[in-house]
């Protein structure tokens, strides 16, 4: 071969320089609201998105779906399934819930619809027409099976395997290929072969082991009738029998399947559903449903610890568990412990994180205080003692869960949406005194949603408003909050849900029933 190049090594360098090599890996799937069971909103690793690659970050695609908005609801934040071997090929999918009881699967490599399922209302009570307080339709985001333990890194997708260096080897004469365990000696050469009739040993035994892992690979949807539908991600067809979960016409939120249990919260006393947390033991044949009522205190949201403990936040009310963070048993929802603070209105879900072997909760209160609690005993002995409270200032928090992540230096960060910014706080634990300290405040935003962190890049969503401001996505320097990139005027409606992410992409959903994808383009 007459090589026309200066040399392979030089060309290899070119290949590396232009980034032609494959990563063969995907980001952890965003499987539920807040990314994981702890609601961290943190994608710990992504093979493409990073501070260094933001110069290539751009609008990728948008897809308008045929959903009808209900009140101010339209689409729910996408949940992702980065690599699914379907009968139509390997697909990278995001699933989006629509307020009109629709579920959409979108091939996120191309922004094309993969399937759509409309869930027919099947409850005995008539479907509620909707009001601003109780919009009806599907209100909770979709969820996939979610690990109780958060992901720690990239996963090899499909048939990808860790790269190994190529190598050539040569064996000894007559010994076969290198590293081969020599088999039995060769049979003696045979004589004339006409006509030899023989049959090779028949293959015996059973099939290879296969099939799904312990968690079902379904897309769980809770439509207006409160009957949970487990959808096959390949087709959108029913993958399991529908199971009655919530009263019809409830305003459900925060759906999550984790540890074999499907959870949701209900709000605003819609339908006949009280303010409550609900848990269906999905793995039990009868699929029993447990409920914990807050006795009138609005549910702010919930997150799970890695042991399955449910941490619920509540707002004001006359209930003993108003203005509280309550920990519940993962299946029975029996109260395990709690923290209460008179006047603290917790409108947002707590977020759970672990540092130094200790698990913490942090949750914003409406008045601008940010609480840090010990997950094992949220209020201490008297149920009133927080580990630390960031005092209120002139900020007010949005009813949006905070996000949390740890940077490469090991610093734990909390990012929370205020009424017009994202505020960042640093966690510290000096002399066994855990505390949060404000670090930076972002540029002004309109109705910001929960920020997310993707491989060290903070993304903030200026959600916009019905009155005219459109949503804008911002990439922020996570250390300073400085703007690094924004979507400008690309998005032409206001956001109806928070951000989520798939490999190399960040998603925004808007009131006009459009899914927007921004990210790093990958050659197709």
């Amino acid at each position: 071969m007459s090589i026309r190049r200066a040399g392979l090594a030089a060309a290899m360098a070119v290949a590396v320089a232009v980034g032609l090599h494959s990563q063969a890996r995907s980001a952890p799937d965003w499987t539920t609201q807040g990314a994981d069971a702890q609601r961290s909103s943190w994608v710990v690793a992504d093979p493409f998105i990073s501070i260094d690659s933001l110069s290539k970050f751009q609008f990728l695609w948008k897809l308008k779906v045929d959903n009808d908005s209900r009140q101010s609801n339209a689409l729910t934040a996408p949940v992702a399934l980065g690599n699914l071997m379907t009968f139509r090929g390997f697909k990278s999918l995001v699933f989006v819930g629509g307020s009109a009881n629709n579920v959409y699967a979108i091939d996120y490599d191309f922004g094309t619809l993969f399937w759509k399922t409309h869930i027919n209302y099947a409850a005995g009570a008539p479907e509620f027409a909707g009001s601003p307080r109780c919009p009806g339709g599907m209100t909770a985001g979709l969820t996939r099976a979610t690990n109780l333990m958060p992901a720690t890194g990239l996963a090899f997708f499909g048939f990808a395997r860790p790269p190994r260096p190529a190598r050539g080897e040569v064996g000894e004469p007559g010994r076969g290929s290198p590293r081969m365990n020599p088999a039995a000696p060769p049979p003696p050469a045979r004589g004339p072969a006409t006509p030899a009739r023989g049959v090779a040993p028949a293959a015996r035994g059973g099939d290879r082991q296969g099939g799904p892992g312990p968690a079902p690979n379904f897309v769980f949807a809770i439509p207006a009738d409160g009957i949970v539908r487990a959808l096959n991600p390949h087709t959108g067809d029913a993958a399991a029998a529908p199971a009655i979960f919530l009263p019809p016409n409830a305003t459900s939120t925060d759906a999550m399947w984790a540890g074999g249990v499907l959870y949701a919260a209900t709000a605003n006393d819609c339908g006949s559903a009280p303010e409550a947390i609900w848990a269906m033991d999905w793995e039990a044949d009868a699929k029993p449903v447990a409920m914990w009522k807050s006795n009138g205190a609005p549910i702010g949201g919930f997150a799970l610890g890695t042991d399955g403990t449910v941490y619920v936040s509540t707002g004001s009310g006359s209930s003993p568990y108003a203005n509280s963070i309550v920990s519940l048993d993962s299946k029975t929802l029996a109260v395990k412990n709690w923290f209460s603070q008179a006047g603290a209105v917790f409108e947002a879900s707590p977020v759970v994180f672990t540092e130094g072997g200790r698990t913490y909760l942090t949750v914003p209160a409406q008045d601008g205080r940010l609480y840090l609690l010990d997950a094992a005993a949220p209020g201490g002995v008297d149920h009133r003692t927080a580990l630390s409270v960031v005092p209120a200032s002139d900020r007010r928090f949005m009813p949006e869960a905070p996000a949390t992540w740890r940077d490469q230096q090991g610093v734990r960060w909390i990012l929370a949406a205020t009424t017009n910014t994202v505020s960042a706080f640093k966690f510290s634990d000096i002399n066994n005194a855990p505390a949060l300290t404000q670090a930076w405040v972002s540029r002004n935003l309109v109705s910001p949603r929960t920020p997310i962190i993707v491989n060290g890049v903070a993304f903030a969503l200026s959600g916009g408003q019905h009155s005219g401001a459109n949503a804008v996505l911002y990439a922020l320097d996570p250390a300073s909050g400085k703007d690094l990139w924004n979507s400008g005027n690309t998005i032409t409606s206001f956001a109806t849900s928070g951000l989520s992410a798939g490999t190399a992409q960040v998603y925004v959903v808007t009131f006009d029933n459009t899914v927007w994808s921004f990210g790093i383009p990958i050659p197709y």
Binding site: V18, S22, F87, R164, A183, P192, V199, P201
Partner: protein
Amino acid sequence: MCAGHLIAQAIAPPADWLTDGGDPQRTAWQRNEHTLSVSNVKNFKLLWKYTTDNKPREMHSLFPPLIVGRVNTAAGPKQVAIVAGVSDNIYAIDVATGRLLWQRHFDTTYFPPPGQNGGTLCPGGITATPVIGPGTAPGSYVVYAASWDGRLHQMDVATGNESAPSELFMPPNGKPYALNLWKGVVYTTSAQGCGGNPNLVYAFDLATRKTATFDPGNGGMWGRTGPSISRDGSVFTGTGDGSYNPELRSYGTAVIAVKQDPLTKILKLSDYYGPPNAEYLLKRDLDLQVTGPVFEWKGREFLVQSSKECRLWLLDTSALGGEDHSTAEYRSPLICNEDQNYQAAGVYGAMATYEDPRSTRWVLVPFWGPTHSKFTAPITHGEVFNGAIVAFTLEDRNGQLQLTPAWISRDMNHADPPVVANGVVFGFASGEDNVLINAPPPFGAQAMTTGTPGRVSRSSHAVLYALNGQTGEELWSSGDQITSWNHFSGISVANGRVYIATFDGAVYCFGLPQ
């Protein structure tokens, strides 16, 4: 038939088809065909059908017949077809009569543990089409075959007797693909990690009895007709799903060239090509699993490659992919597989290439599934649903090489690798069901039978087609004469006859009536 043809036929030596794909370059071009032609192929008939006692393993059964035009036997010169069966069988058939000359069943040294079942992808048994080389005496030939236990057997084509003791070659129970023979070295590639074995390029040096391997670092190599070999002995293969990381010397989802060191016999990487969208190809399991033919054109040598993605890459063998190893001389648009599915769509197996009397270079590409909605050719022959052959011509347009679509054949129920002889393109519809994963049924509904049993039950029958090489027009077909189908097999052509073997153990010979 004109007098000129008769004279040519009388004086020309009989043609051979000694290796899968016709030659080490895997052109699938029978250059020495003097009997059949575009004008007479319409008279093709079933000349004979021989049913072997080979037992299928999973979906594998028989491999494409190899043809030796003139073998000196004890009964005089004969034209012999050598057919390998997956159950460690080799059959020699007298082409003139369609009768068995001899058969051999290899005495295996590998005994699978109880309960072992590799599934459809790892059938066990012989999985590589043998290769035939010259013997020591004029008119003698040696067939080289790799048995289930990984041994390399060498047999006299005339008798089936072993011309040398079998040799340790590969680990047992692997899945090598068609053997290739180049200057005393038997090459093959393996895939699917069958038997727990790594996916490697293998080279057995007949002179030294040394086996060399090359591990591309990632990805199985499952071009159906094995590796192709260029004029300087470089061995080319596509690599399947695997990480393409040249900086880590990992060459999955790529095309690699390896070459034997003449002194040490070690196989060394000499070049590689990584598609710009390797990441995407890997993610979607659109691996480069096609044997790419090598050919010369206007003083340069090229390799054409493809994959399940269903596009072509034209590569200069002297610098695969140019300076950055990712810039093909020409990259075609997608031909098929609009859904970008890893199964039942795309280019599978191998391609063919030939030069017509006007020195036009043709590339023939079989594919499965419908054509891409944006792909067309000047000549088409009806809508394509299940597969077809598309023909390209190689052109130089102002210094830019281009593969220009010329025609798309009629619909074929999974078009498998074609062969070409004297201006006639022979293609075949395998008739197999090649859906690995069917649509899951809704909850409570009956699922389709999966795996080999389901696919076998849903397969139909193969059809052989003769097409005009210039236009793709159908000149003849076997219709319903072939009653079974085949999987990962092929066809061969020599001396006015075309051969196809099927799952039920039958070998069919179609040709001009004698």
